[in-house]
């Protein structure tokens, strides 16, 4: 077991932003699973986007080589992160931009608030940006009397619906067209009451609603998909043109980026501008990408501020195994292929980073203790690893974080946890054949609980195990008993008064296979069935 390796570096502070949910994952997931409309919306959306991604990824003969390159570039960028950030700062400054550094969410919010105040504006238009949601920027601006208008259609739906985003790419994926129409009619104020629920009519309503704001905006706020250390170039990838509006029309542009978004060289974009769109929207290329370097006289904002944010990223960097979570380019491919995400949606994860990568990234940014249930929010099926354009080994990271959590808890608790006691007891039992056999015989009492072949609820303290999955009904006979009966029947080796399975076995070709009625669904006795995953 690896010891915690974050070297005492501060994680993202509590009480600000959206990296921690109100409820642990199992509680939130159970709530989400009860919402059949949500499950229908998610199922439809993830099926559609999975098919699109598979088609455009299949078009490229060098997709695996691009993934390898993406992984290598990101690893190299992190290995020299300090140097690349200094280089980025130097380049941006040389081209007329101003670079700010923020240790955490609170500091970033203060910087942005004071920059907006400095312009005299009380409104700002925003490009979709997960990092500003991570730090709770809109709340901080509102507290300072500044209104931030979300301009991405999905973010607008979320903002007008007083809701939370539930997907990295499509934050309103949990809403269907009828729900969106109702939100627009209720909240927009300037919308035609005859608005239909066709997506094109809804998009047109958003266009009209936002047009005036774009044309009069004084301050734009964005995140960044990439920042090039070598040239000081910032890059925002989008579809609707709201990003271009926010990045081009205001006098002042404020960009907030996590320090891990850096790429060393200009040529690296040749890799990432292939990996990101195909993995994200399932398109060969997204409709619009903006790249800018500092300030261009006569074109676009004449004041440019770049805020470089830590907020737990250096703590993640200090975990040499977990570090690769910082390679994430926020494409959301892992969400769309995840059997858990597809059923529970993004809200259940409690963080702006949902799905498989969120289950890794959120605990790394906050410290595992504050998101302790997320590393368990996975069946470890591995689909996320296959889909990841930068080859983040998410299943291994989930297991790594589970181990980190167990170790951290063990170090801080004076009384061992029930899990630790159970594991210690299991270790003692399994160390002796006699003890193991006795325990197996005792386990047969569990047959009383699972007459249908499954145990849905175990008594406390074992109820924690069955809160999210069924346990198999223990078989009538253990493997050891069966073996003895089969091979030593004449020597009085028959165990427990159970009739020898040899009379019912399928013949010599199938040793260990017992018929269905004798226990666990045709599996060898004693072998566990998989429980239902949440």
């Amino acid at each position: 077991m690896s010891a915690p390796t974050f070297l005492g570096l501060p994680t993202a502070p509590r009480g600000v932003g959206h990296l921690r949910g109100d409820d642990p994952f199992p509680v939130a997931a159970r709530r989400a699973l009860a919402d059949s409309q949500l499950r229908r919306n998610l199922g439809k959306a993830t099926r559609t986007i999975r098919a699109k991604r598979a088609a455009v990824v299949g078009e490229l003969p060098d997709w695996e080589a691009l993934r390898d390159a993406g992984q290598a570039i990101k690893a190299g960028a992190l290995a020299h992160l300090d140097r690349y950030l200094e280089q980025l700062e130097e380049q941006v400054t040389a081209r007329g931009g101003v670079v700010h550094w923020a240790r955490d969410a609170n500091e970033a919010n203060e910087i942005v608030t004071s920059l907006v105040r400095g312009t005299g504006a009380t409104e700002a238009v925003k490009v979709k940006s997960i990092v500003t949601d991570e730090i709770g920027l809109n709340d901080a601006l509102a507290a300072a009397g500044i209104t931030a208008h979300e301009t991405d259609l999905a973010e607008l739906i979320v903002q007008l619906g007083h809701d939370r985003p539930s997907h990295i790419l499509v934050p309103a994926i949990h809403r269907n067209r009828a729900e969106i129409r109702d939100i627009f009619l209720r909240e927009m104020g300037d919308v035609d009451p005859g608005l239909t629920d066709s997506p094109s009519a809804l998009a047109e309503a958003a266009r009209l609603h936002l047009r005036r704001q774009f044309l009069s905006a004084k301050v734009g706020i964005s995140g960044a998909n990439f920042a090039i250390a070598e040239t000081g170039t910032l890059c925002v990838v989008e579809s609707e043109g709201n990003g271009r509006m926010c990045l081009t029309l205001p006098d002042t542009l404020i960009t907030v980026m996590g320090i891990e978004k850096i790429l060393p060289t200009w040529a690296d974009l040749g890799v990432f501008m292939q990996l990101l769109p195909r993995s994200s929207t399932g398109e060969r290329m997204n409709p619009y990408t903006s790249m800018w370097t500092g300030v261009t006289p006569g074109d676009g904002p004449q004041q440019f501020h770049l805020v470089l944010l830590d907020n737990g990223r250096t703590a993640a960097l200090a975990d040499s195994e977990g570090r690769q979570a910082l390679h994430c380019i926020r494409c959301s491919a892992c969400l769309n292929v995840c059997p858990v995400y597809e059923r529970v949606g993004g809200h259940a994860y409690g963080s702006v980073y949902p799905g498989p990568i969120g289950a890794v990234l959120s605990p790394m940014l906050t410290g595992v203790e504050d998101n302790a249930s997320l590393p368990y929010a996975s069946s470890l099926c591995g689909a996320c690893f296959d889909a990841c354009p930068v080859k983040i080994d998410i299943p291994s990271l989930l297991v790594h974080l589970r181990a980190r959590h167990v170790d951290e808890v063990a170090q801080t608790r004076r009384v061992p946890s029930p899990e630790a006691v159970t594991m210690a007891a299991a270790s003692w039992v399994m160390a002796s054949p006699a003890r193991f056999e006795a325990a197996q015989r005792a386990g047969r009492a569990g047959r009383l609980l699972g007459r249908s072949g499954r145990i849905r609820r175990l008594p406390p303290p074992l109820s924690a195990w069955t809160s999210a999955r069924d346990a198999p009904r223990p078989p009538a006979q253990t493997f050891r008993e069966w073996w003895k009966a089969e091979h030593f029947a004449g020597e009085g080796g028959r165990a427990g008064g159970v009739s020898p399975p040899s009379q019912r076995s399928r013949g010599p070709g199938a040793p260990g296979v017992v018929p269905r009625e004798s226990g666990a669904g045709g599996r060898p006795p004693g072998e566990a069935e998989h429980g239902d995953t949440p």
């Binding site: 080589a65 390898d68 774009f214 043109g241 081009t248």
Partner: protein, 233 residues
């Protein structure tokens, strides 16, 4: 300690004591195994670009240099545009010479107005966002086009203008020369200048935010039309 020093210090702490001092060989595209050069000839490249543009719902016209003005004229007529903005430096061969049905701004200065078959052509000289919102369209050239992805890239150079020009009007007519077309994304990146503001455009603006159903035309131009100019074989 400033936030800058503290964040940089944390990074060094986090990376410190790594085996090998955290050294990573810099990524070298030439040895990376992915494609960096396409192998199509120019005709095939243009066909691929046209196909990919159409696939993402751009409109495409093919023409030759001496027929460019006629093609532009036909596109504007079909669109029904009355007032169109041109970036400074947009040189349309044939437009600067007075002729039947036209009088042109050609290389003339900003703010000047010409006409082409009754369509007003207004050269940008710092029009406001509100002024641009009154225009029916914009005509530009581009810096590079990437065939495999159906992407055109504008770099605010001559004949392209500042970014707002191709953003606010609802119709963008973009002229691409055959020599500007590359096959692959890495080739496009290699041709671009990072010190210029760049806009990569792949089809008209679109959203899939409602039930993943694609809708063309949200905030950027709802119609993108591309004229591909190739020399005669």
């Amino acid at each position: 300690m400033t936030a800058r020093d503290e964040v940089l210090g944390r990074i060094r702490t986090a990376l410190g004591g790594e085996p090998g001092g955290g050294a990573h060989p810099p990524a070298d595209p030439s040895s990376a195994g992915y494609r960096t050069h396409g192998e199509l000839d120019q005709a095939a490249l243009l066909d691929l670009l046209a196909g990919r543009l159409i696939d993402y719902r751009s409109q495409v016209r093919r023409t030759e240099p001496d027929k460019l003005l006629d093609t532009v004229r036909a596109a504007l007529a079909e669109r029904g545009a009355r007032r169109v903005v041109l970036p400074p430096g947009l040189d349309l061969p044939g437009l600067s010479q007075p002729g039947p049905g036209q009088s042109g701004p050609g290389q003339s200065g900003p703010g000047q107005v010409g006409t082409l078959d009754g369509v007003e052509l207004i050269t940008d000289g710092g029009l406001s966002a509100g002024d641009l919102d009154q225009m029916d369209g914009v005509i530009t050239r581009a810096a590079v086009a990437i065939a495999e992805t159906g992407t055109i890239v504008l770099d605010a150079g001559p004949g392209q203008g500042r970014r707002a020009l191709t953003l606010i009007p609802d119709y963008h007519l973009c002229l691409i020369e055959a020599g500007q077309v590359v096959a692959l994304v890495p080739e496009g990146v290699a041709r671009l200048r990072p010190d210029r503001p760049l806009t990569w455009i792949s089809g008209p603006s679109a959203t899939s935010d409602i039930e993943l159903e694609r809708v063309e035309g949200v905030h950027g131009p709802r119609t993108l039309e591309v004229i591909l100019i190739s020399t005669i074989d």
